[in-house]
Assembly symmetry: C2
């Protein structure tokens, strides 16, 4: 298949591109390199089946041109910095909702009708049911990020209804692993590089979160696209476990051989719109035969090992 | 209070403006007159407590200026033509989602923090639970209209979380009554004026829908704003009954003394994204003491009587 991946130079996008190329597909990678890293697609660029398009999902013309001959779109380009929504409430709306609208319009113009979308467990807001299933009670959005992703989901499913699109919507927990560029493991590791004796955690350290290893996430997406036959296919993707921030701190500091004094920002939530407890019911994707290969602890350690080998990334993302 | 009403020259907006003026409030009416009717605010314009701002919610500057001194916003401006989403999927996104984002940003700039929003029962897509409660299972959006309104709800509640806004979200069934300018009663009445012997209905005539009389809708909104104390207050607004399209046709033709031959467009749905069964659980708003004064039949007849007295509107909306 000829597949377009938006956000192709990002953490998950570049990992997906490598997998799609390894499976023999032709891949067009689309990225504006706002957070994507050229190093992440170095390997892809050695393949004759890979084409790079430098472009922004807010530029409909470039998107429409990139859609030529495409049979399937993985739309991963997004603002993924969940924490900073209130600094500019329009940013998530533009990059995540309007960006998705542009992708869908470019698909319609190019008669491309299959799309997989990286949504988020944040669409459940502060969930009331745990583990949270895909058909949880209609949640109240608490973050601009979650609101913008749920809005994008709505667009995709309305295109499925109106224009015979087929949509795959994946609601991720936090993803970990090689090429990880932001999030709590990144923040903690950088802090401990700068000052090994102290560590500051947002919230009270008791927030419970679920995580998933990036290759397990990609396994799940590829399996669903192969096996799920509906017009609209929605899947939670996460581990069947969660951990507290304090447990994560324990694994990280133990791996690094450090015993920092830990202080806390305070409050139940790490930031405005943070959900203090995220744990998704993933029985739907498990029903297709998917099982994650790494648990949360192993995923955190693989992320740490990657960061330890990537001092350039730590420097660049300052 | 000094209250801004967007969509002030529309069906529901102008009816609300009159009620707010009658209660002694100062009202700033905001409308771009794309579907609003100057005649609907003729009465309001005779009040010294009413100011009209001719503007579009897609123009942030005019909105920001209109917000001066405002204490409460009723945001009703929207594309309300549910049926034509697929003709231009960007229209609902722009007018309903981005328009709401602009209203919220103008409020933030003007330190206005209380907003009531006209959402829709269409956010439930094709609901699985009847009557459908506010916390129904997270629905799949089937219409661009519903998707754009749910996206706007998400923005409002994210502002409530991040910026201490107070939000009132009202999910309406179809509203009927004086100043009604579009929808099935309008379509049927016009058809029967043009050719009294034949009537064409969309779908199969068996779609079951709930309706609410406009003054009952306004009663509910004013009561909720007065009594509901939460940061985020979400209410279904509808009658505790529904009717089939064919019943509605019976009441309309009986009132007009006609016996047309009825033909059907076919299919279970009236249009792409139409939900064949809409019936909302309104026990939450009833819990505040609200009761509708008119049933569906009476609301349809009041709408017909209004249309019979308003030939100018029939002509203009051709």
């Amino acid at each position: 298949m000829r597949i377009l991946v938006t956000g192709a130079a990002g953490f998950i996008g570049s990992s997906l591109v490598d997998r799609l190329l390894a499976e023999g597909h032709e891949v067009v990678g689309f990225d504006n390199f706002s957070t994507g890293q050229p190093e992440f697609i170095e390997h892809a660029l050695t393949s004759s089946r890979f084409t790079l398009v430098r472009g922004d999902v807010l530029d409909p013309d470039v998107l429409t041109r990139a859609m030529e001959g495409i049979e399937f779109v993985f739309h991963l380009a997004a603002n993924a910095d969940v924490r900073f929504g209130p600094l500019d409430p329009r940013r998530d709306l533009k990059q995540n909702t309007i960006g998705t609208s542009n992708v869908l319009e470019a698909m319609r113009a190019g008669r491309v009708r299959r799309i997989a979308f990286a949504s988020t467990g944040s669409v459940y807001g502060e969930a009331e049911v745990f583990p949270t299933p895909e058909n949880a009670p209609l949640p109240v959005q608490t973050s601009f990020y979650g609101a913008s992703k749920l809005a994008a989901e709505g667009l995709i499913t309305a295109y499925a209804e109106a224009f015979d699109f087929q949509g795959y919507i994946f609601r991720f927990v936090s993803i970990l692993g090689e090429r990880y560029t932001h999030g709590h493991v990144f923040d903690f590791y950088r802090q401990l590089l700068d000052h090994p004796g102290t560590l500051t955690a947002l919230g009270d350290g008791k927030q419970r979160k679920s995580y998933l290893y990036v290759q397990d996430c990609i396994d799940a997406m590829l399996l669903a696209v192969e096996k799920a036959p509906q017009h609209v296919n929605i899947f939670n993707l996460g581990a069947d476990e969660y951990c507290a921030v304090n447990e994560s701190i324990g694994w990280i500091t133990e791996h690094l051989g450090l015993s920092p004094r830990v202080s806390y920002g305070g409050g139940e939530r790490g930031w405005v719109g943070d959900s203090p407890y995220i744990f998704l019911d993933c029985s739907r994707i498990r029903g297709l035969g998917w099982r994650p290969k790494l648990g949360i602890r192993e995923a955190i350690l693989s992320t740490l090992r990657f960061l330890q080998c990537s001092p350039w990334l730590l420097e660049r993302r300052r």
